[in-house]
Symmetry: C3
Subunit: 273 residues, 3 copies
Amino acid sequence: MFKEMLENVRAKAPLIHNITNYVTVNDCANILLACGGSPIMADDIGEAEEITSVCGGLNINIGTLNGRTIPAMFAAGKKANALSHPVLLDPVGAGASGLRTETALKLLEEVRFAVIRGNVSEIKTLAKGSGTTKGVDADALDAVDENTLGSAVAFARAFAAKTGAVVAMTGAIDIVAGADKAFCIRNGHTMMSRITGSGCMLSAMMAAYITANPGDTLTAAAAAVSAMGLCGEKAFARLKPFDGNSTFRNYLIDEVFNLTGEALERGAKYEMR
Amino acid sequence: MFKEMLENVRAKAPLIHNITNYVTVNDCANILLACGGSPIMADDIGEAEEITSVCGGLNINIGTLNGRTIPAMFAAGKKANALSHPVLLDPVGAGASGLRTETALKLLEEVRFAVIRGNVSEIKTLAKGSGTTKGVDADALDAVDENTLGSAVAFARAFAAKTGAVVAMTGAIDIVAGADKAFCIRNGHTMMSRITGSGCMLSAMMAAYITANPGDTLTAAAAAVSAMGLCGEKAFARLKPFDGNSTFRNYLIDEVFNLTGEALERGAKYEMR
Amino acid sequence: MFKEMLENVRAKAPLIHNITNYVTVNDCANILLACGGSPIMADDIGEAEEITSVCGGLNINIGTLNGRTIPAMFAAGKKANALSHPVLLDPVGAGASGLRTETALKLLEEVRFAVIRGNVSEIKTLAKGSGTTKGVDADALDAVDENTLGSAVAFARAFAAKTGAVVAMTGAIDIVAGADKAFCIRNGHTMMSRITGSGCMLSAMMAAYITANPGDTLTAAAAAVSAMGLCGEKAFARLKPFDGNSTFRNYLIDEVFNLTGEALERGAKYEMR
């Protein structure tokens, strides 16, 4: 099932408009190219709608948001909605500042999102309307483990029902939830939290997956999560003595570049709830 | 001939002012250091002219252009003209939005460029005054092959004559054209289109080449194109199983770092038309 | 002594607010993660103070400063002072433009810095109130060698006394000075000047070191300088034929990731003056 999702990305090479932070933007562009998509970054209000129009999907990431780029996020999001292009929201750091929380909440009000992808703290912030995210990483109190998985799935499904979006809540166990069912995904490696941009790269790649698979956003989003986690496992396995997080970042993108549908199908670890 | 061009960069270590996009800016800085130049990035109107003044050349790249940086491009460009510093234009995404097309056209009106470097779709957009570039990559219809090479060379030479700039139009076959003659360069590898920033890095490096070789901009620009393409070939040859586009990017910059004048002279594949 | 400094970073995982340039921001985030800290980048006036409040330390780097981010530097700096969080200034390119020199000088007036870290040309510019830095690299005339070391130490100690900050002046020999004593550090490798971001990464990492070691800013800053230099030596030693500056950058971050307190203690080369 995931195999077809991946292969559709490679076959269709979706062009993705990214309004994203300047910290991880290069990695986002390279992972989009690695997975078979094509990136364009444009964040000025003077061209945001027009760039969205020539693309197939839109990825809005609020890391390093600012007074200049926020209006472009709204304009591009509405334009994408008008054109029925899928839009993904990555609420980086929602809960860490009022500006981030309020911008994310306002985007949820005014733009229809196909997927909301964040860590547990960010998603909880959006669901509750406020939060206390520690920086851009999830709060330890928010960790999802086997004991809390059931309630976390119920929470994600409820938020999906409320927003009409697929909710991709990533952490030790990843949950990708629609209103009626959820994927619980056990791919990934803790090393992914030792580089910047694991989440941003996943969001960018997921935008390509959902754009290339318009008929099944839930499965496409889950396939992207599983693919990224699997590539994290494979990248970690490639590390040699003296290698560290910088080499891991390179290997992670390399693994996405080389990942086949068969390997994804074989390596995906998930269950439905 | 290309050998001297490269060696002048290493000998003179030209300081290049870059007003460039935030997607590939780190790669541009590292490739400038790799080739023997020295980078400085500055895009605020409050310092653009002053930074240009302390540099030897200017590289204007319109990717992620915005209302804040566009005025700095004009101010720096005019200052560089006044100081007779060579200025290079990389019209990233011209044709993909009105803002990009119009900004690039207005820059061509108000600033005298030593070189215009872009893909075929971008250059065609500038020559026609409008275009339909697919994102930041060249349209497939614009591909230059052996059948269309003759007309592409004529087109590039005509645009060079019209603008007074050397026109570097890169693709499967690269054309570097003055009004009277053109280099057709057959270095390069398709893998270069699987990373972000191949074009941006070439423009940054080319700015160093033309700054270090003021007497022969055409040959210097052609040498930069050939050097980058040759390094792409050599980087691809270094790839091992499991390596992908991220490792390729690292190897590409590494090859530029290690490239000697002799190796460039030996590996350059070009003809004059 | 340096061992404890490093181990406190790993134990406390300080969250560092970075207002920094977009050229090297990704490397700064990854080196913070490599050393055991945690990065957040935020430069909008609408959230700068709030983000500073949730962090433990602040790193202000004026590379690619602009009209939008300068007010955020002042707001965050003052907030950090009010909260007694350590603040580090990296005056990138001070002396290369009036905007950079004046912004850095005004920051020194209005914000209390725990550490000022720059190359010799930048520090001299701040001490004299004007300068002629060549781009973002130190002027050759400003090089510190065995002959000039004594006067350079005296200069750095005097500037430390004047500002109340630890002064970290990096070059062939690094000087980390308080008013009363200074570390002269002989770690490092010339290859570090062939990548972009060596200085920016050091500043980001140093912010983590001083935040995790509030009782001894001078030793913490010196430990960071020695750690970065030692990792530069080790990264260079790992290079194989065909490797260049891009691979060196990756290895440098990898070495920081793998550096232990024992290895730092063993490899540190310094004397007190």
